[in-house]
Structure formats: structure tokens, C-alpha cells
Amino acid sequence: MLTALLVMTAVALVLGALLGYASLKFKVEGDPLVEKIDAILPQTQCGQCGFPGCRPYATAIASGEADINQCPPGGEEGIRKLADLLGREFKSLSEEHGVEKPKSVAVIDENTCIGCTLCIQACPVDAIVGAAKQLHTVVAGECTGCELCVAPCPVDCIAMEPIVDTLDTWKWRYPVIQIKQAA
């Protein structure tokens, strides 16, 4: 009886020590779920979800503080992917957070810009170059189309222009099944 108790205690101690060691040795930094959610989010960093950037929103989703349908740039497809990942039901985009728009980039009207640097400070991805009292311009390739620079501009010289197809970005369309003809 006593031997059995001792053996069990010893086994429990050894296993406990092992587990304790493993939890220190293989400690996972950060929440891997947040990483996965962050990878799905479009990284527009627009803040339309109500969080200051995509990562904070990902953290909020992971902790259950935010819903999955608050990201307009991600659109329906993004919501579907999040629903798949988290095993939740699909919901349509929440209206209070905005509507899905075609991808666009900010364009600064060079004749109107006064060089106030407010848009440069607002840009979350440093995609606007310029200096005080110098003409600013948007690096189109880096612009995420978040629209955060539009509101601060005191002279309203920033416009969002939809991205047009080029030969490198043109896509073959989904083959259309002609029901009328088929009938």
C-alpha cells in the first residue's frame, strides 16, 4: 500500500517537474491565434474596425472583444476566412463600420497641396513623402487605400482613385454559365 503511494507520488512529481520544465522551455511568445487572424486581415491599417490598426483588431477578435465582421477592406471574403478559422458562423459586414469599396489609392492634387505635413503624420504606412512647405506625394505602390490622410488635409487636396487594371494585374473572369442559352 505504502509502496504504491510512494511510487504514485514519485511518478507525479517527476511528471510535474517535466511538465513545468517543458512549459518554460517551449513557451510560446504571443498568441498564435492572433498571428493567424492578423495574416487574414488586409493590413490596410485604416482603423475602420474601431481599433488602431489590424493587429490590435486581431488581438481583440482573439480575445472575444470584437466581432469578425468589422473589417470593410477585407470584405465578405475576409469574413468568410475568419469564420472558417475560428469556427464561427458567417455574418455580413457590419454597417456601422463601413462598406466594402473597390481598392483605391490616395492621390494628392499637386496644385492645391500647401505642404502642411498633416497627411504624412496620418499615414499609417509612411507612404506619403514630403516636408514642411514642400509638395507632398503619395508612393502609390505602398499606399493601402486606408483614407486616413483624406480627413486631416486642410485644403481637401487628397482624392481616392480606384486602381485601374493593368496588363500585369488583369484577371480572367469566372466563366459565365449562360442559363438562358442552356434552357
Partner: protein
């Protein structure tokens, strides 16, 4: 010696429709009123224009410089005046425009200065640069820059150089006619390529439905006295003209997924490319024209030597276009792409202008559900399972489609051809491929945005910290300075009144603060006093009077009103 030939998997035997256009020799097309030469004519890069509107150009003058590693130069096809450099509709299904040089021919068709090169004495790198600047690209339809392929593999020499004269697609006969009429010159190009690649043997694969071409090439080889070059008639079976399929038939080598034929010592070029390499090296003529088949719904199907940039409807008019024509297809009926307009220019990729009409190409029967019969898998020359890829493409499950090696699909159209349910399988695969590419681009962009966002946050944090540190350091320095001054003051005072010296010398924090404030106020007062009004010379008496009045008002406002006033 009879060569052992191999078979590739699958393939189909569509009606070839080649006889009508081979009855006549290659004809010249009269100069059109206007040439529209797109600058983007190779797989990679968008060449920058080297001419401006109003410039006079000679035939063969470079008008677009190669841009990047997979790009190739573009040349004026005839002499004339550059009318404009603007985006113009290009021969592509998308109907998009691309920057093009529009030339108004002067009718003289005068060549500029031509540089020839002796390929036997030129180092390979220079030779490749020469071919890049001569705009030589693969004329089989993929327009891959030839200079990039003319590199011997890691071993420094190639085993087999395969020359593709199979021309398996129905209606197209431009390579056939080229081989019949220009075999000797084409062979010179092949010899040059063989020299560049140090190839042991050269195999020219020609489908056996072109006996005249086989005979012409064999005669040219015999006349040239070259050894190790052989023209091989291969069984007619679509798509024997696919690079991997032709290599399989001629050498038995099956190039596996993710590898290149050069890994196995084989490289493949089109016969038209060989001819344009001959023109570039031996005549110094850049690639400014090509042989184009006009077939389909025309009165006289024929092959033409067409200047790059000639509007397609101008070429078709020579063959007698019929009024019921409703579309032009660039390429053949299997792989060709429908063009957005009749007036798009002939480019380096145009091997055939297939004129379509509702009678010739009736609309496809309605698509029916896939019954998973497996006919497509039997016909697939790339050994894929099209019905699986179709299923996943249709449901937009692109990851799965890629698992079935979607990107090994050569879009030959065999699967769509045999499908009993008339499913446009290739359309689904093209859709899937471009979606996957778009997603990869988006992923890259979002990763870059994440990095930039994180860096911006880091930078702001760092700047805040640096500013705080700087302020703290400055405050500490001032405090020390004031403390030192205060100490000096107390010691000098102590010298005069010995009883005060008994008090502790260190001033309290309150005193330091007060001293700081006093110092700052003093500084501000001094600065204010230093400010002198500008532009005070040469004033009119009126202005001076105004100023005096303002000053008086200011002084009155500044003096506090006396209590009894």
C-alpha cells in the same frame, strides 16, 4: 538511320484545316497608313520609349529599350514620322491599352544603319546583349526573349538543341511556309544558336503532315554539309508543338514538375525564332516583321510577311474578308485568344489571325454538369487531372487546385476539346491561375504594409523616447547651470556678510525653479526688446502718421487705467 521516337501522354487529333493557306507562297502586305507598335512585346518589362512625337525614324531603328531581365527591345518597322507615343489598344483579350509608338510611314521603307555581328568571334555575353537589342523573342507565341534562353546550362554545353517546327495547332501554317521557302537561312540561324549553346546535336521536329517542309529542311541540311543536325518527321498529334511534348517525342525525356528542360541538357526554339536570329546576326536586321497566317472566314487564306504594328484588319483585307466575320482570334482555335477589336496591331506573338464567323465557330453548346468520365485526364498532355482542377477552380478552392498542379497546365485546350459536357475547362484554369497570382500579389502587398506599419509605430515610439531624453538632459543641464550660478552668488555674498555664510550653501529646489523662471522671463524680455520693426525706411508721411497713431493706441492700451479715471 531511323530515329526512335517516343509518345507523349494524351493529345487529340482535331481537323487540321491547313491545306487552304499553303497553296500560295508567302506574300508581302502593302504598307498601311499607320503602324501602331506596342512597346510591351516580350513576357517581361515595359520598354521605355526612345522616340518622341515628330521624330523621324528609319526602318529598324530602336524605339523601345529593353526594361529588366526578361525584356527585349522594340524597333520601328518602317521609316517614317513618329505620330504619337500613347497608350493604344493591344491584341489581348482584356481590351487594355499599352504604351505604343504610332508611326506614319513615309513610303520609302528606308533602313537605318545596320550592325552585323560575327557570332563566332563575339563573346557570348555581347552576343546575348546584341540579340536583346535586336528584339529577338520566341515566335512560337510565348514571346520569351531568346537571349535569356541562349545560355548553356551549368555544364557549359547542351546535349540536344530542339527546333520546333511541329506547328500542331489547326489553321496555322506560318512555320510550314517559312521552312519551305527559307530553310537555308533558317538553318544558318540554327547553326548560330548551336554555336552559342555548344549543343552536341540539333533535332528539328516537324509534324508529318508537312512533307514539303521536311523535304526542304532536309535538303538545306544536306546542302550545308553540317553534321549532327537532323530534321525529324514526327506523328501529327496535337499538341506535339508544346515544348515539353516535342522534347518528349524527340528525346524521350519527360521534364518533371518544377524542373526545366535545360536541367536535362535540352533547349527548345521555334523555327521562326531561328530565322529571326539569322536575320539579326547575319543581316543586322532586328525583328520587325514576321510571317502571319490569315485563315478562317476569308476568301483566300494565305501567309503574309507582316510588319510588326500593322493593323490586323489591313492584313485580313488582303485575303478578302467576308462581311459576316464577327471576331478575330490571335493564334489557332485551340489556344488562340479572342481580340477586342479588328484594328489591333500585329505583334511579335501573332502567328495567325483566325477570322471567325458565327457559321465557322458556332457558339459552344451549353455547359453541362461534369460526369467525371475522365476523358479530359486521358487527353491531357501534361498528365494532369483536369476534372479535379475544374472542380476546385469552379468552387474557388484555389489551394486544392494548386495541389493538383494547376500551374503545369499549358492551356492547350485538349480537355475542353474532348469534354462530353462541353465544359470550357481551360477558361476555368485561366481564371484560377490569374486569381492565384492576384492573391499572391495581395499577400505580398499586405505583408509589406504590415512591416511598414510596425516600423512606423516603432519609429514614433523611438522619436518620443529620444525627445524625452533630450529634454531631460537639457533640463538637467540648465538646473546645474543655475545651481552653479546660485552657489557663486551666495559665496560672493558670503564674502561681504560673514554671518550669511553660516547658512547652508545649497539652494532649495524651490529657489532653483524660481531662478529658472526668472532667467526665462529675462531672456524673453531681451528678445522682445531686440525686435525692431522692419520696412521703416522711406515711408510716406501718411503711413508714418498711421504708425504713430497705432503706437499711441497701443501705449494707451498697455498703461493700466488709473483708478480715478
Amino acid at each position: 538511320m531511323l530515329r526512335k521516337l517516343f509518345k507523349f501522354h494524351g493529345g487529340v487529333k482535331p481537323q487540321t484545316n491547313k491545306t487552304e493557306s499553303t497553296t500560295q507562297p508567302i506574300a508581302q502586305v502593302p504598307l498601311p497608313d499607320r503602324l501602331v507598335i506596342p512597346l510591351h512585346q516580350a513576357v517581361g518589362g515595359h520598354p521605355r520609349p526612345l522616340v518622341a512625337p515628330g521624330d523621324k525614324v528609319f526602318k529598324g531603328q530602336r524605339i523601345g529599350g529593353a526594361d529588366g531581365s526578361l525584356s527585349s527591345a522594340v524597333h520601328a518597322s518602317t521609316s517614317g514620322i513618329v505620330h504619337d507615343v500613347v497608350p493604344a489598344l493591344m491584341p489581348h483579350t482584356s481590351g487594355l491599352t499599352t504604351l505604343s509608338v504610332i508611326i506614319e510611314p513615309d513610303g520609302e521603307d528606308r533602313w537605318g544603319e545596320l550592325d552585323k555581328v560575327n557570332y563566332r568571334r563575339t563573346p557570348p555575353d555581347e552576343l546575348r546583349d546584341f540579340l536583346r537589342d535586336a528584339g529577338v523573342v520566341g515566335l512560337g507565341g510565348a514571346v520569351f526573349p531568346s537571349y535569356a534562353k541562349l545560355k548553356p546550362g551549368k555544364e557549359g554545353r547542351l546535349k540536344t538543341l530542339v527546333i520546333n517546327g511541329a506547328e500542331c495547332e489547326p489553321f496555322i501554317t506560318c512555320d510550314d511556309l517559312l521552312m519551305r521557302e527559307r530553310a537555308a537561312d533558317m538553318l544558318k540561324g540554327i547553326v548560330a544558336m548551336r554555336h552559342m549553346l555548344q549543343a552536341e546535336e540539333v533535332l528539328i521536329g516537324i509534324e508529318d503532315n508537312k512533307p514539303e517542309a521536311v523535304a526542304a529542311v532536309q535538303a538545306a541540311i544536306a546542302a550545308s554539309g553540317q553534321s549532327g543536325i537532323e530534321a525529324v518527321a514526327i506523328p501529327t498529334r496535337y499538341p506535339a508543338g508544346g515544348a515539353k511534348q516535342l522534347i518528349r517525342v524527340l528525346t524521350g525525356i519527360e521534364v518533371p514538375h518544377g524542373r526545366r528542360s535545360t536541367d536535362f541538357g535540352v533547349q527548345c526554339f521555334n523555327v521562326g525564332t531561328a530565322y529571326s536570329i539569322y536575320e539579326a546576326l547575319e543581316l543586322g536586321r532586328p525583328l520587325i516583321s514576321r510571317v502571319v497566317t490569315v485563315a478562317g472566314n476569308v476568301d483566300r487564306p494565305r501567309n503574309y510577311e507582316v510588319l510588326i504594328g500593322t493593323p490586323m484588319d489591313h492584313v485580313v483585307r488582303q485575303s478578302g474578308a467576308r462581311p459576316d466575320s464577327d471576331r478575330y482570334i490571335m493564334g489557332g482555335p485551340m489556344m488562340g485568344v479572342r481580340l477586342p477589336a479588328f484594328g489591333v496591331p500585329v505583334v511579335k506573338a501573332t502567328n495567325c489571325i483566325l477570322v471567325g464567323s458565327p457559321a465557322l465557330f458556332p457558339p459552344p453548346p451549353p455547359e453541362m454538369p461534369c460526369i467525371r468520365c475522365g476523358e479530359c485526364a486521358k487527353a491531357c498532355p501534361a498528365d494532369l487531372a483536369p476534372f479535379e482542377m475544374y472542380w476546385f477552380s469552379r468552387s474557388k478552392n484555389f489551394g486544392k487546385a494548386q495541389e493538383y498542379h494547376l500551374f503545369d497546365c499549358i492551356e492547350c485546350g485538349c480537355c475542353s476539346f474532348v469534354c462530353p459536357s462541353h465544359i470550357p475547362l481551360v477558361d476555368y484554369f485561366r481564371f484560377s491561375k490569374s486569381e492565384i497570382w492576384a492573391r499572391e500579389r495581395d499577400k505580398e502587398a499586405s505583408d509589406a504594409a504590415r512591416d511598414r506599419f510596425e516600423f512606423k509605430n516603432f519609429r514614433q515610439e523611438r522619436e518620443k523616447q529620444e525627445k524625452a531624453e533630450k529634454l531631460a538632459a537639457k533640463a538637467a543641464a540648465t538646473r546645474e547651470k543655475v545651481a552653479a550660478e546660485g552657489q557663486a552668488g551666495t559665496t560672493s555674498a558670503a564674502a561681504e556678510t560673514p554671518d550669511v555664510a553660516a547658512k547652508p550653501a545649497a539652494p532649495s529646489a524651490e529657489d532653483t525653479k524660481r531662478a529658472l523662471i526668472a532667467a526665462a522671463m529675462e531672456k524673453a524680455r531681451q528678445q522682445k526688446a531686440q525686435v525692431a520693426p522692419k520696412n521703416t525706411e522711406q515711408l510716406s508721411t501718411e503711413t508714418q502718421a498711421d504708425i504713430a497713431a497705432i503706437e499711441a493706441r497701443r501705449a494707451a492700451a498697455a498703461t493700466p487705467p488709473t483708478p480715478d479715471a
